[in-house]
Symmetry: C2
Subunit: 172 residues, 2 copies
């Protein structure tokens, strides 16, 4: 009986080990933002919307999109983006590649910021839910749900682009 | 009979329209490189290895990896990278976002460069096959297969990193 239980536990451990995916398991640990938005466990697997570089903050960045966002971007349906589209902007501090100093590459992870389109749920902010997680501990940004006014305020200059600054790349 | 043919052609057109995916269909058109390497039709769907910025060329860039490369990167198996791993470095000219000028974003597409690990096939260049396609027409780079010596020469300073400059990002 004990041997059977031990065998069963070993089997469970093996199955868990087999299913384990580093980026997924780790991002799944993020605490939800104060407005209830959760960081999808698979955001590191999303596809490319665009890379970018911030001259003021010295960040190298990548904007990724979930399947719905990528489909909408490729079909040119981004004014407005469809409900369910989700964008994640990943930022790292820059560092010059030590063997190729004119290439600035990711150093410390700074943050991941999310925009989630749900025209009913986020009616007060033009259909967009916002969230931000800071540093490698993915600390949720904001004291309470009011933090989204700050996000939305900064995005208001691009209201005519459905509040998204980035133009998705079109690959040949 | 004519009506039937017309209906059949309409049906074919609809099926083609339904299956059409801009990035995939278009990248599938690239002519193979002079050394026979083909640009995988799905490279725009690969996942993120790292974004980067080139201060000398004023390019924003993204390095993507096929499934095998992403798995190897996440498991830290990159010295050496496993056979079958493929990396694609996408480069665009920079342009300042007109509503947020400190954000440099992709403008015209410059090129996609590929490294493909096959330790038997590319024994002469330390197991790596190289290729580059230029511009939105994806014009293959190089007059003949000898162009790879130029690629490999530039990557030799990072021989101890299995000839890859970029460090894959580790997301929290």
């Amino acid at each position: 009986m004990h041997a059977n239980i031990r065998r069963l536990m070993l089997a469970i451990t093996l199955v868990q080990g087999f299913a384990w995916q580093p980026a997924l398991a780790e991002s799944g640990k993020a605490v939800p933002a104060p407005n209830g938005i959760t960081l999808p466990a698979d955001f590191a697997d999303w596809r490319l919307i665009a890379p970018s570089y911030r001259t003021d903050k010295h960040h190298v960045r990548a904007i990724l999109g979930n399947d719905l966002a990528i489909k909408a971007a490729r079909e040119g349906r981004t004014t407005p983006w469809p409900d369910g589209a989700m964008l994640a902007k990943l930022a790292w501090k820059e560092q010059a590649n030590e063997r190729f100093p004119t290439a600035l590459e990711p150093a410390a992870f700074v943050q991941v910021e999310v925009m989630l389109k749900d025209s009913k749920r986020y009616k007060d902010t033009a259909g967009w839910g916002y969230a931000r997680w800071l540093g490698k501990d993915l600390k949720p940004y904001g004291q309470d749900a009011g933090f989204v006014q700050e996000c939305h305020g900064c995005h208001t200059p691009v209201a005519d682009r459905d509040f998204v600054f980035t133009s998705p790349v079109r690959l040949p």
